[in-house]
């Protein structure tokens, strides 16, 4: 008996997991639609498609919530659905309060579902229900739908489609009666071969089965509710109660507004666009990780094969050798395709992130009395699901900062000759293997003086002499740094700039800041498109091999030691129209390095922040499988991970961003003199004598 119960529990847990995922999807869709809906406030006609979409989302949320017994969500979704129905019939005009209530509703739904997942008491939704109710009465008082969802999962509340309603009506006209049967399965009943299927058969014998639905009771027990029309006398099934099958007379709602809602929804649920297209498969991210790991193993095995083919090539007759090489190359190509295919599965558009950001902006506008216009671009840009989830909070933090600290109040803006409405730009774009997300405002910008003053006041005097844009970022990214004495509601929610930078760098990305006092600030977050596999340059530093992601290397230049100028302990080499500060990697890593022979410099970053990492040799370009350095004891500055090239030996992966930052600290006095801006398209990988490098 107990075994049966546990397997039921597991089933239900899986069911709940699906519920959370589906709700999340519907909430994401409704967030998008609500933002669009806002532009229709006080318009007599609203884009029908938009309303339909919102209606569908709430309708699904309601149905799903009823199935798993999350009654608060069901009630709320129902009330929101009712309001939309009124709007669809144009019985009421969309008001700002209406949109606010719907947005509040979506947020509350989100919270309720999260509460359920975390097994905590959901917040009280009654005030919100009342608010939504009053919106309905404002529309047409006579059409107020009765509160049907109070008992959540009450089978009376099940919506019947038009067809089924018609079926029911026809049966009733013929003199049949409608009955509502409730069957609660139990192991004892199952032992008597009384289960859902036999019950269903039994019911079909006495009449027509109009509708059936599972119903979850508060303590998680599942029962099934059937709506049956029958000409049979009650005597026929009175004794079925002994078999766990109870019944009630079914009262069809009289001129039910809920049914009208259903009638409307028939076009969505029936022949219209299906709620969830059937060709979509939902996959757990963990399984994709596993798949990616397997592809990674394949990449390593192939590089072993590659070595083997090269060695065998010297011993085999030419024709055999060529055939082997061709197969080897074919595998390489196919592996690349496979890797890209797996990677693509993990990508999601940044649209949802932007929608969440806009929600945050809306709240802040109301709290602060500022006027903000949000402009989006690149919403369809795709990014790794894991990366985007990790970056969500940091990005929201940037948006909060931009609105609450960056943008000024309307009066202040007007006084400075700006339009009273502040602008917030959210942009996303991809270049090669990286994706850039920008959060830009045209507000007051970052005041270097104030920030330095603040840094000094809080004892962070090491920054005292730096006041350039780049080091400004270093200051504000110091853990615990804040320009406000008291963390305000908007920005004091856990993540500071330090976290923004840490998360971006943990993901192999970087943060850049561009600001002009009085004109605004732009934060650019660069992130790798995918984490697990990357193209990397293999380099030799002091006799040890390292890898550095190709995406972070701007250019490789050959340096003649005679061209190096020493300036206050800093080595500089001519570079394009200016100079390039060097960071001696061997020195940085405490290895012996020789400085008298020709060496190479990997140019990291461009423009003013460009630095050159000196290496002895560049050995080649390889596809590497990135593995994290999980233990703190081996997490050292300048190293972001490790890889294996096929011989079982670990090769450390350099952290370009951290190294560039170290180099900038080293040259903090002189870097401003390195005024140069190399054209971005001149990147060339200099052949290091092996003839293996590609431009």
């Amino acid at each position: 008996v107990s075994k049966e119960e546990t397997s039921d529990d597991i089933c239900f847990a899986e069911f709940l997991d699906d519920y959370y995922v589906e709700c999340e999807e519907h909430l994401a869709v409704s967030r998008q639609s609500l933002l669009a809906l806002e532009s229709f406030v006080d318009h007599p006609h609203i884009d029908r498609h938009l309303l339909d979409e919102l209606f569908r989302s709430f309708h699904s949320l309601k149905g799903l919530s009823a199935m798993v017994g999350v009654h608060e969500a069901e009630q709320l979704a129902h009330q929101m659905e009712s309001y939309l129905s009124v709007l669809r019939k144009e019985q009421s005009q969309l008001t700002a309060t209406g949109v606010d209530s719907l947005i509040e509703g979506v947020k509350t739904l989100d919270q309720i579902i999260v509460s359920r997942r975390e097994n905590v008491q959901p917040r009280d939704i009654r005030p919100l229900l009342v608010r939504l109710e009053s919106l309905l009465t404002a529309g047409e008082p006579s059409q107020v739908p009765s509160e049907t969802g109070t008992h959540g999962g009450d089978p009376n509340a099940w919506g019947l489609s038009t067809e089924k309603s018609a079926e029911l009506a026809a049966a009733l006209q013929k003199g049949a009666r409608a009955w509502q049967f409730t069957f609660t399965p139990s192991p004892v009943l199952a032992g008597r071969e009384i289960n859902v299927n036999t019950v269903r058969q039994r019911l079909q014998k006495i009449g027509d089965l109009i509708h059936a639905a599972p119903h979850v009771k508060d303590h998680g027990q599942i029962s099934f509710v059937f709506l049956v029309t029958s000409l049979a006398e009650e005597e026929t099934f009175r004794f079925w109660q002994q078999d766990g099958l109870t019944y009630d007379a079914y009262e069809a709602p009289i001129s039910p507004p809920v049914n009208e809602v259903k009638a409307d929804s028939a076009l969505d649920a029936g022949t219209g666009t299906p709620l969830a297209p059937s060709n979509i498969v939902r996959v757990d991210l963990g399984r994709l990780d596993e798949l990616m790991r397997l592809v990674g193993e394949l990449v390593i095995s192939r590089s072993r094969l590659d070595e083997g083919v090269k060695r065998a090539g010297t011993k085999l007759p030419a024709p055999e050798c060529r055939a082997l090489q061709e197969t080897n190359q074919a595998i390489e190509r196919q592996l690349r395709d496979l890797r890209e295919g797996v990677m693509r599965v993990r990508l999601v558009p940044v649209r949802d992130v932007f929608a969440r950001m806009q929600f945050v902006v809306r709240d802040l506008i109301r709290e602060s009395g500022k006027k903000v216009a949000v402009e989006l671009s690149g919403q369809e840009t795709e990014i790794d699901k894991y990366v985007v989830e990790r970056m969500m909070d940091p990005l929201l933090h940037l948006v909060r900062n931009a609105v609450s600290h960056g943008l000024e109040l309307p009066k202040e803006r007007e006084a400075q000759g700006k339009s009273s409405e502040g602008k917030l730009f959210l942009r996303a774009s991809t270049t090669g293997e990286t994706i850039a997300i920008e959060v830009e405002d045209d507000g007051r910008g970052l005041d270097a003086q104030a920030i330095l003053h603040r840094a000094q006041a809080t004892g962070r005097t090491s920054f005292a002499e730096e006041n350039e844009t780049i080091t400004l970022l270093d200051v504000i990214c110091t853990p615990g740094f804040s320009t406000r004495d008291e963390a305000d509601r908007a920005s004091g929610r856990g993540v500071g700039m330090a976290v923004v930078r840490t998360v971006a760098e943990e993901l192999g990305g970087s943060v850049a800041l561009d600001t002009r006092p009085g004109f605004g600030a732009k934060f650019t977050i660069q992130l790798p498109l995918t984490l697990a596999i990357a193209d990397a340059l293999i380099i030799d530093v002091g006799g040890q091999m390292f890898a550095i992601p190709q995406a972070s290397v701007h250019e490789v230049i050959q340096v003649d030691p005679k061209a190096v100028t020493l300036l206050e302990n800093n080595e500089l080499v001519p570079y394009h129209n200016g100079v390039l500060p060097l960071l001696r990697l061997a020195n940085f890593f405490g290895m012996s390095g020789h400085t008298d022979t020709t060496f190479f410099a990997l140019v990291i970053n461009s423009g003013l922040s460009a630095v050159g990492l000196t290496v002895d040799r560049v050995l080649g370009l390889r596809e590497i499988v990135v593995r994290p350095l999980t233990d703190a004891v081996i997490r050292v500055p300048g190293v972001s991970g490790a890889t294996e090239l096929g011989d079982g030996r670990v090769v450390l992966i350099l952290d370009a961003t951290a190294l560039a930052r170290a180099a900038r600290k080293q040259t903090k006095r002189n870097w401003a003199t390195a005024a140069c801006d190399p054209p971005a398209d001149t990147a060339l990988y200099v052949d290091a004598g092996r003839g293996e490098l590609r431009p």
């Binding site: 890593f589 290895m591 994290p628 999980t630 233990d631 050292v636 079982g648 030996r649």
Partner: protein, 154 residues
């Protein structure tokens, strides 16, 4: 004697002394092959190795206990320890024994033992003629007392 009365240990040698590690904590033992040095890591970190697809730090236990370093030879072993979600390799002079020790033979360490290695002692066992020092895995893997040297920025 029943199973419940014994505990199993992996014995290893370090600078002429026999140590024991609780066998549950030991994932595997390997020959020491290629160790990749990690620049600017604490001195007792000899580098990193691949073990079962994972990048694992290789700790020189001689250095960790404050003994003199000794070049690796054929007997040198990497004892891979998995403890509280971490996986760490310990380089020891030799390791090959797996023993079951009656729990009543396990004694607390004498208070007089001092020095760096004393800190890592959990208990001591007398096995016939030999004295075995049982290592406290928690303490050995707790590296918070070591500061990481700063990279050389000239």
């Amino acid at each position: 004697m029943t199973n419940t009365d014994t505990k199993t240990f992996i014995l290893f040698e370090l600078s002429g002394t026999t140590y024991g590690l609780c066998s549950q904590a030991v994932q595997q033992m390997e020959m020491v092959e290629q160790i990749t040095p990690v620049p600017n890591a604490p001195l007792f970190v000899e580098g990193v190795v691949f073990s079962r697809g994972q990048v694992v730090p290789a700790i020189n236990l001689r250095r960790r206990f404050g003994f003199e370093k000794k070049p690796h030879d054929l007997k040198t072993r990497l004892v891979v320890v998995a403890h509280e979600g971490r996986t760490i390799g310990l380089i020891v002079d030799a390791a090959r024994e797996f023993v079951a020790i009656p729990t009543n033979a396990i004694q607390p360490p004498p208070e007089a033992i001092s020095g760096l290695s004393g800190k890592y002692l959990q208990s001591i066992v007398r096995l016939g003629e030999r004295l075995v020092l049982i290592i406290d895995v928690d303490e050995v893997l707790n590296f918070s007392d070591f500061s990481v040297p700063a990279p050389n920025v000239a």
